[in-house]
Symmetry: C2
Subunit: 87 residues, 2 copies
Amino acid sequence: MPRVVVDVMLKPEILDPQGQAVANALPRLGVSDVASVRIGRRIEIEFTGEPDLDRAREIADKLLANPVIEDFTVRVVETDEPVDARQ
Amino acid sequence: MPRVVVDVMLKPEILDPQGQAVANALPRLGVSDVASVRIGRRIEIEFTGEPDLDRAREIADKLLANPVIEDFTVRVVETDEPVDARQ
């Protein structure tokens, strides 16, 4: 069954202290080639019937994102997409 | 400049109270065709040079995800991908 995925990220001009904290921790892991880290939310919505992008957009706008400081994207993905790419 | 995106989601068998709270709020918005909502994190990593998937996987495993309760995927995206699909 396909799902709708909503990706919510802080607008580029908004400071992201959580991402900054991760970026600052990387040199201690021996990683020095990372320029920036931004952390947002990924929301997976499963509909009882067909995935409804307009409905998902409405949910994102009213409930999932703060449009003042965040942008979001809405798209349909197939659920047989690999969940864990480590294999 | 391409970025690496790490998507971190709770494993399917782990309860997601935050997603459940959103799902429970939907009928009050007049939405009744949503079966489930799961909330995870989306992390965008920008490298100083070429995007390095193996390095990103190592960062995700050590710093971004809790492998006991979370799965993650790692992939490269172009930054000219639309950030806001509302248009």
